[in-house]
Structure formats: C-alpha cells, structure tokens
Subunit: 379 residues, 4 copies
C-alpha cells in the first residue's frame, strides 16, 4: 500500500522533536514526507527541506502558504505533523483541518486556553482526524498495562504514583543564549503558563489516566521555580484525586540531577500492582498480591496480544522511544486509511482532542491551585 | 570491656521487633540481655525469658516490678530496650529514666501527645540517655549521604522525595484474628492516631530530615483508609515544605502490592543528587550534575570514613537491616559508656527525644491537615 | 539526497530477520526498497512484495533473475540485502558483487568453508562493497566501549567475558513442524556445522573482538546438544586465548530458560573494566580501578562523540535493537555513497569480509576442538 | 539454653575473617567466645583477647597450649573456630578433634594434600564434629535454590554457570608491605598451590555443587597470574563436566576491576532456571520455561520453609553476608547440641569434611589441568 503523503510544520535544523517525528513516521513505512513549512522563511525552509530530500517547490515559508498550495495539488499532503513550539500548534492545525487534511500534533494541545478552544472547534468541525503525540502511550508494555487494568487484574485501583524527573534545566540554560529548546520551553509566551507541568507533567498526567482508565477529579499543586530568574515552574509536586476514589501523586521536575527522562508509573489496586519505567520500557513488573513479582517483557512469555500488536521484534531485542513514538504514527496511519475507506477508525488507544483538552485542564488546574497555595482545584 | 547489662520491656513470643532489638544488641557484643518484662504476666514472661536464657528471677510480670527490682541490684540492668506497642512506650521509659537507667525505645515516641509530653519531662529530668530506634539512620550509606549533604556536595537542597510503600495490609489482615501485628498497629488506642503515617511515615520523615539536615516547616496531607473497616490510615500522600525553601513529597502506604519494605530516599540540590533504597542498602547513587552517575558502595572505593566507621565487612559482603539496627545499639553503647565515664556522649547521629518529638509533630500535623482536606499545617 | 535503491534476497512472510533489515534500512531514510527475490517462486515473491509496496515487475522468483534484470535497468538496485538462511548467502552475494552491486549480508558469512572461499574471491574481485550485519557492533555504547579500549582507558586487556544465552530452543521446537526458524537453524545443511555457535556464538565472538581490538589466537570448545535428536550444538562453553595474552570465556546457549537474547560483554584491563548488556543497551558500566563505578548512558553526560554520532535521541530516550541495526545500514549507506563519489569509504567500524572470515574460523575451530574433546585449536 | 563455649584459633588484630566468625557466632546467641589462641605469642594473644573481653588466663600463645589447658577445664571450650591462614588449619583442627572438641574451620580445608589427608583421618577418628565455613551455602535463598532443584522444579540440570570475580588484587598489593591479607593469600607456602582458585574458586565450586546437587566429574582449567611477580593464579577460566551430563563454567578472578565480591550462580534445567547473586542475596530469580520471570524474595511470598527457617526478618528487611555466615554457626550449634544430647545431628546442609575434600580435589585438578595446558582432569 502506498505510504500516506505527509507534510511537516516546524522541525527545521536544531529541532529535536521534528527529527523524532520524521523517524517515527518512517519506521513502519506508512508515511512519506513530501512537503514542509519547516522554518519561518522560504529560504530556511528550503535549506532544511533539501537536507531531507524534499522538492524545493514543496518547501514553504509559512503553514498558510503550504495549506493553500498543498490542498490544491492532486498529490498534496494527506496529513501534516505539527512540531512547532506550543503557541504555534493551533493556527496551523486549524488551517489544515479546515481543508480536510489530517493533523498529527505534538503536545501539549496549545499554549493558551483560547487557542485550545479555537482548535477544539476546528477539530469538531472537520472530517479530518486530529492526533496528539502523547507518545508514551505507544509503548507496548504501556498498552499491556492498560489492558491488564481494564481486565481487572489489579482489582479496583487505589493508588497511582507517577513521576517524570529530568535534570536538563538544573542550571539557567535558557540564559546562555545557546539553548533554543530551553529558551522557548521556559518562555510563557511560547510555552504557555506551565513550565515543567506543560512540557512533561502533561505526559505524566496523560499516562496515568491512559493506563488507569481513570480521570483526575481534582488536584492540589505546589509549583516551584527553583532557578533564579526562571519564569515558569521547573518542579511540581501534585496531589491527585481520581474519579471513583483512587488517589495519587505526580512529581515532575527539570532540576533533579541524574534524571535524564525518568518517567515512571506505578499503579496499585486491591489485587495487585504494576510498575513501569520509560527508560527501560521493555519491562513491566506485575505484582499480584501475595505472589512473587513477575517481570513481564515485551515480546516475552507474559506479553499479551495488545502489546505484541505494536511490537516489531522478539523478546530481548529491545525496542525504544522511537518505536513507541512510531506506534502513534502507525496507529494514525491505520485510522487515516480507515477514514479514507469510509470506515470508522479505531481511536481507542490513540490520543486526540480529548486527551489534549484534559492536558490543558491539568495545566490550568495546576496553575490555579498553586496560586491558591496548593488548594484543591477541580479539573 | 564487659557488655552493658540490658533489660527488655515487651518482646515476648510472636513479637517481631523484640527479636530484632535483641539481635541488634548482640551483633557487636556491646550488650548482654540479663532481664526482661517480656510479657504481661510473670508466667508468660518467664516462659519467654527461658527461651532467651534469662534467669527466672529476672523475668518480671511488669515493668514496674522490674524497675524496682533491677534498680536495687548491684548487677541490675544498665539500660532497657522498650519494644512494646506505642501506647506502652512512655510509662516504662519514665519508670526507668527516673531510676537513672538508660532507655532505648522503639519508634514512634508514644501513642498520644500527652504521653509524649510526660516522656519529654522525664527525659529532660533524667541523667540517663533516651535513644529512639529510628534504625534506618544507622545504615552506613545513609550516614554517608548525610555527610555528603552536610559537606555541600549537592549544593543547596531543592527537592526531597521520600517514600515508604509496603503491602502487608492490602487486605483486612487485622480482621482475621490471626495477625497480632496488624491488630495493634491498626488500633488507634494502641498505635495512636496515625496508621501508616505513624508506623512507617515517621521513619520516612525522620530519614528525610536526617539526611537533608532540614526540618519540615509545613505539610499538606491526604490520608486514606482504603480497606473497609480500617480505623487508621493505610496510605498517605503528603506535600512537604522544608525550612529554607526546599520542597518534597512523602508517600507511605501499606496497601501497595509488591512492595515489601520499600523505603526510598532521593535528594536533589543545585549541584547534584543522591538516591538510596532501603531494600538494597549497600548502594548509594551519587549524581553530580553534568557528570555520569556514580554507584557508591558500602565498603567500596567511594565509601567515606563516616560510613566505614559503622561497617563490619568489606565491599561486596552485603550488610543489611540488622547491621543498620545494630549501629544504633552500638552507638548507644558508646554514648552510655561515655556517660558512665563522666564524658559528654556524642549524640550527633543518634536519634533521641528531639527526633521523637519531631515524629509526633509530624503525625499530628498529618492528621490535622487531613481533617482540613489537606490544608497546610505547620509543624 | 535521494535514498539508495535497495533490493532484498529472502525476507518473505514469516521471516524474522528480513523485516528487521527493512526497518533498519528505513529508519534514517537512506535506503528505499525497490525490488526483491523475497521467496522461492515468482508468485510467492510477488505476494510478499505486494505487502511491501513493491512493483510486481520487480518481484523476482530467483536472485539470478533479479541480478540479471536489475543490473540491466537504469534505475536498478544499487545494493541488496541478503537475509536468506546461511547456505543461501554466498550464491546471491557472488551474483550481485559480480555485477558491481553492493551487498549487505546477514551473518554468519556462509554455511560452509567452501562457500566462504568462493565468496571471499568474489568480494576481492568486486569493486562493490560487502557488509556483514554483525549488528550489535552498531550500538552506540558499544562504539564507545571500543573507543575507550582503544584510547587505553582500561590499560592492557587481561580478561574478556562474553556470553549470549537464549532459551527458545529449550524444547525440541524444530520437531513440531510449526517453527521454520527452529528448523533451518538446527539443520546442518542450511545452517552449517554450527548450531548455537553459528547463530549467536559468532555474534559474541565478533563483539568481543570488535570492542577489545584483539583477535582470538586459539580456543577450546565444549559443545553440547542437550535436546535429544538435535543435530547441532545448542550450548557451547569455550575458553579463549587472545593475541597478546588476554584470556576469556564465551558461553552461548539456546537452552537457558529465562534468557531471551542476553548477549553480554565484560572486559577488564590493568586499569579498569567495562560491562555492557544487549538487553539494556543504553547503559555502559565503566569501572576505573579504585574508583566508584560509573554508569555511562547513551546521550548522557559521559557519552563520547563516537557514540553520539550514531545516536538519534537525547539521554533517557532509549534506543534499541532496531536503531543499532540501522547504524550498520546507515554506515553502509555512507560507505556506498563514498564509493559512488570515487572516495575511499570509512570502513573502520563496519563489519565485512574479514569479520565474516573470522566468524567462519571461529565456527570451524569450535567444531574441531569439540571433536578433540575440547583441545586447543588455533584460529 | 546456655550458649556453647567457643574458642578461636587466629583472628587477632587486622584479621578480617576472624571478626566475621565472631559476629556470626554471636548473632543468634548460640555461642559465647571464652578463649583463644588469637595470635602467635601469648602477649599478642592477650592483647587481642582483652579487646574481645576474654579473660587473660584463657588467651593462649599457641593452639597446643590452648588444647591442653581447655580440655582440662570443666568449663573449657566445647568448640573452636579456626580462622588462621590455610596452612594452619590442619594442625589445630587435629589437636582439638583429638580431644573431642568440635571444630568450625575456615575454608579451604588445608594448604596441601598431605595436610588434608591427616585432617581427614582426625575427623574420621573423632566423635566431635568438623564444620567447614563454606558460608555462602548459609544464605536463605541459596537454601531455597537447592531445595527447588532437588524438588525437580528445573527438571534435569543441563548448564551450571558460576563465577566469582573480585578486583582487590588488580595491582600487586602483596608487594607493598602493607597488606597482610594479600601477602599470605598469594604465598603458596601459606595459601597452598591455588591463588584465586583456592580463595574464591573453592567457594564457587562448592556453591555450584551444593545447589545443583551434582558433583564435578572432570574439569579443564586455564589459570593465569596476570600481575607480574605473582606466585599464584589471580584469574581462572574453567570448563566443568558434572556427573550425569550437565556442563558448566567457572570463572574466578581477583583482577576484574569493578567487582567487589561478585559471586554469582546460574543454573538451567530442562524446565526452568535459577539465578542468584551474592551481592544482592535476598533475591532469587526463578524462570520456569515459557513463563514470565519471577523474583523470589527472602521472607516474601515465594519464600519456602527451608529459606524461612534460616531467616530472621520479614521480606524487604535485607539480611546479608553476616546473617548467611551466622546460619552456618547456628546450624553448627544445633548439630553440636544434638551430639551432646546423644542424637544424630542433621548435617544435610552443613558443609564439612566431604565438602572440604571436594574443594581440595578441585584445587588439585585445576593446577594439574593448567599444567597440561587445560587438559581434562578427573576429580
């Protein structure tokens, strides 16, 4: 089957996440990158595009130009990946959705509630799909954890511990003039009101909900900006109350030396527990109460069909971050092909608008709670 | 040097912690158990004492009898270990302290604030020492962690994450009639107002403060009793604010399947981090920011004098819970011998009344905060 | 830059390693699969090709047909991947090399010494490149380990411990009629004289030599076929003597329950050691003698340029087996482009004919040694 | 019950293993140290004894004096611990055994075959017990592993991998004049013909046999002395053939930087595998073929009675090297009490003469094999 024709908004030189999206789109051969508004001027965009093998006439200086031109081509893009800073998610997404072009967008949804509202309307009005790359949901053993919870293997959930510490902002990297990532991610105008809570806290929140099948009812957040001069939070301690009575904690930090990307989820129910760590993603600890701990491995004896369906290699041949990310893309491809065929796409495990809105509510609630000295705020 | 003559209050048959205290007292040969009020009647006490090789005439039916009789003997006990349920700590401690006999007492300090107040007066009035077995402070690599923080290796502390999950109360063990431990530890009359927060939360709180050198200024606690019918908390999620601006989280639980005794401490400062787990206590991760993680091992190349001073074996010959506990006893022995010699004992690393009062404040603050829906409460 | 046009020999349905090669070729966008002799008949080959998006006219029933047809096309394949069973490596490789088409071939080199000799002549006679996918050499932290040894960080090497246990042949899987992998890999006619030593022992041998920079001078091998009826070894215990005086051990097994793909390498020199495990490939333990162990992470603070050059994501975003395999392909692409540009390709880290011949010598020496009751045999 | 009166031969100041024996004897309160020939002169012996609280008149300048004097006392020692260098095991053991005093002796049995033969005769002629402290057999999870193998949980054993790397002799520590341990352990006159194979290889060999229930039939050993000037082996690579057809490997080393005391055992049978590491001794991996790996923990849900019987604390309260060592002493105490009571002692899990003779055969076979270029030598 011919690959889906993909365009990209953002992702020029030095952009970490753009390269990740491109590899994720490519791993299973389901997408072919054919166009892009990779940078903010036509010249830069063409330079970035050339390095990626794009035809010069399909390297655009703005997403608007691209949306107009591509939607007019018979061989125009069928989907776009939006990998710009947060404040530049909504506008391009709206432009392409309005033209019936599917959108795969990096998280969080937007930088502001207003942008989120506008985007929500656009998504609801479009026949095209909107996929949000909460990529950690693509890991096979996360899919399995979710299925095990849903199957009742843990009984009623009581406790959800999720954390996402990093250390890359331990020092004022945004003040050196040499770290563009640090600059925009700590700039409220581009990142939104949340710092660590927006960048990584939303991932943690999303993952906890995805696996547990529960929504956060209310939270109490203590946010800190430890680095002098920093304008957004770089550490957050959050109490969680889930619908149905489960309780939890979320810790995210960008100032915890020794932590690279240490997203970790632990869920405990009446009958058992599950533990998973993103940096060692092929393992899932399953601890039925009163029995020895079991180490389930991707591709191994304890792996379920739902995990195997998004695996490419046997047990012991580790898959990683890019494969997990690719599972979002490949899931998106299947959904897009279903839409193209006039069928109802299976969006069960694919994060989209709802996950994005939940994330925005999470950020807003954290900021509101922190402003009230960590009072409980409903989501 | 002759061993210190030790008596024991509590610790009869089926008492877990009594046996631990006895081994801890014995490992370095610094104490000899010579008397006990091990059980609640003279007969039972003698039966328990016989199994321990005690002379029948020094097996007492009450701590009062014992205090009177032993203080009258030339070869009477020089110290007592109190290993009864929490509500039975204060009275015997007061009785022995009043007679100048040193007291080594299990934690938490007491079951109630009133008992704590009475005990405080007794300690302050006595020339004898009062040691509280916050045994986790006895681990060599915890001593080293504390020294590294004090030496500034981490810079100013920003974040303290401490957790202490267990799973032994996942089901209503106290309702089976077969688990005395579960019964008294979930009975407010014997355990105090705190369930998990008193039993293990105090350990976590103590350890966080011991290593960081910081005091908790205020906390916000969300307490749960997940098991139907349980009268005390079996899970607690607590936000911490430390004096000086550091923030943290404390999670303790007795309903987290797969966790046996998983006390874990992580501390992050401006310059680096430390991570330690009680179940693997011979290891200490040290992560200076911007450098590879280093695994410091007890007895190994990175071990400091302060750790080696409380080690018995070279690196790779693991020491455990009992040796850590023994370090409290052996430290107590050194302090007692100093007092006996008319010298000032070195109590720097020995938990005592102050740690106990801090623990009581911690429990009270948690209960108060929880009663106000997790409002901030000063300690 | 346009992708290199790739053909594939073998790799039809149910072929594990063919799919791996395709993903590896795709990850960095350096190759485009355009033709294949995927199966043994034109019909099956077309069916397999259709699933991969190949044009029917470029799906061939034999490698001969493909070599003739493709070499006659202006847009014919520039390189081929050979992913057939071992006894079918030499013939297609020779056919394409003879036509100046680059060959990327799965390991081991061939099934027999005669085939190896013929292939050697073909490689030496061709202007095209021959790359052997000893894929584990593609892992970033393996590249780093090799560089550290070469830089003298370990001093003179003394001990090399390498092992590669698996468990998938614990039972007679080849006798069920349902496991084609097990069938051909335990069939001397297709696999060669070596069972586990050919399939995985060659990887272990190659990796030990690649990282240590040393060649095995002689070995003593004790080979076993534990499963009744098995015609090749399924477990091997091998003593190694390296040129220059280092000693080592190699254990490979397909009957070690609980081991999925547990290739592990440990190297010790006068000044320090290195430890690496394939199943957790983003980590490299470095232990300078007399200092704490350091955990070097791919993309992390201790990662060297040689590792970063073959990494795609920052530290904490785990890369895995497929990315390591892709590094061989992407290295091959760079070498092919150099040849196309008339330059000398950098083959320093790319396994090729020499590694393949070393592997054949290893297999032969193992079989010879085992036949003499584990006598020393020179390689 | 009154403690058994214990004497000690060797174990004066600076002696590592003497202190270990004393703690091990003390942990469970089964022994009381009352006499010693701790050093080579009466003065030194008294000085060492004073530090241990021994009466000066029971501190002897030679084991002979001690044997004569103590056997004449009504309250004389009932057992002695021999913790001298290897060449000084046989003579004191024979002296005490001849007087009906039980002997607990450090391993290996002796330094020479002649000494072993003499000791064997003495043991066979005495009514007293001879226990050899192959202390690693005392670990609870090792006892469990042995029981699981015996129960057939693994099926017929195929492969036994055992290793014992250390790094403390990486440099010529015996040539500095400051390391007495290094001096005698590398001196053939005191240590015997084996260096690493005697000091730690015998432990590895013993453990492999203890758990597997198998005897080594023959071995092929490649011994090295990597450090210039060293007179005994500091690294050994050994192929093992067990009675019944199982095969294995033993690696021991004292020159592997980063390894402190890394004894590790892995056993694989037709139905499953077990893996255990001395440095993390509370864990035992059990991998039934085709099922997820299970992590059995000492004191935990998967712990068997045979492990619990030699445990003192619940799961998650780690026990270590000293407790494992103490299990040998406490087992010895039970056996001694049985003999005292005229009963047959249970020596099933207690290493003694047979284990010691097996160890001597192992050393001799290694040396013989190495002298023949790693030829197979029967034990």
């Amino acid at each position: 089957m011919a690959p889906i024709r993909l365009g990209m908004i953002g992702g020029g030189k030095d952009a970490f996440i753009g390269a990740v999206h491109r590899i994720a789109a490519r791993i299973d051969g389901e997408f072919e990158l054919v166009a892009g508004a990779l940078s903010s001027t036509p010249e830069k965009s063409r330079a970035s595009g050339a390095a990626l093998g794009l035809s010069p006439d399909r390297c655009y200086g703005s997403f608007d130009d691209m949306a107009v031109a591509e939607s007019a081509r018979a061989d125009g893009v069928q989907a776009v990946a939006i990998v710009t800073p947060n404040h530049m998610h909504a506008a391009p997404a709206i432009a392409f959705l309005a033209r019936g072009i599917h959108v795969i967008c990096d998280k969080p949804l937007t930088a502001t509630a207003e942008q989120a509202q506008a985007l929500e309307q656009a998504v609801r009005a479009s026949r095209a799909l909107f996929i949000l790359t909460h990529n950690y949901t693509g890991y096979p053993m996360i899919r399995q954890a979710r299925a095990m919870v849903a199957a009742g293997d843990l009984g009623a959930i009581r406790v959800v511990q999720v954390e996402y510490p990093q250390d890359w902002l331990t020092e004022p990297a945004e003040q050196t003039g040499e770290n563009k990532q640090a600059e925009w991610r700590t700039d409220p105008a581009r990142s939104g009101a949340g710092g660590s809570i927006g960048d990584i806290g939303t991932h943690a929140h999303n993952l906890a909900c995805f696996v547990s099948g529960l929504k956060v009812e209310s939270l109490a957040a203590d946010l800190q900006s430890f680095v002098p001069g920093r304008r957004v939070d770089d550490n957050a301690h959050i109490l969680l109350r889930f619908q149905g009575g489960a309780r939890g904690m979320l810790w995210c930090s960008q100032v915890a030396p020794g932590n690279e990307n240490a997203l970790r989820l632990r869920i405990y129910g009446e009958k058992g527990g599950l533990e998973w760590a993103q940096e060692d993603p092929n393992y899932l600890w399953y601890t039925p109460f009163g029995q020895p701990k079991r180490l389930l491995t991707r591709g191994g004896a304890g792996a379920m069909g739902v995990a195997n369906a998004v695996s490419r290699t046997p047990g012991g041949h580790p898959e990683g971050y890019l494969e997990g990310f690719a599972n979002i893309y490949t899931g998106a491809a299947a959904a897009i092909r279903a839409v193209q065929a006039g069928q109802t796409p299976d969006l069960d495990a694919l994060p989209g608008l709802d996950a994005g809105l939940d994330g925005m509510r999470f950020i807003t609630a954290c900021v509101d709670s922190a402003a009230q000295d960590a009072a409980w705020v409903a989501l």
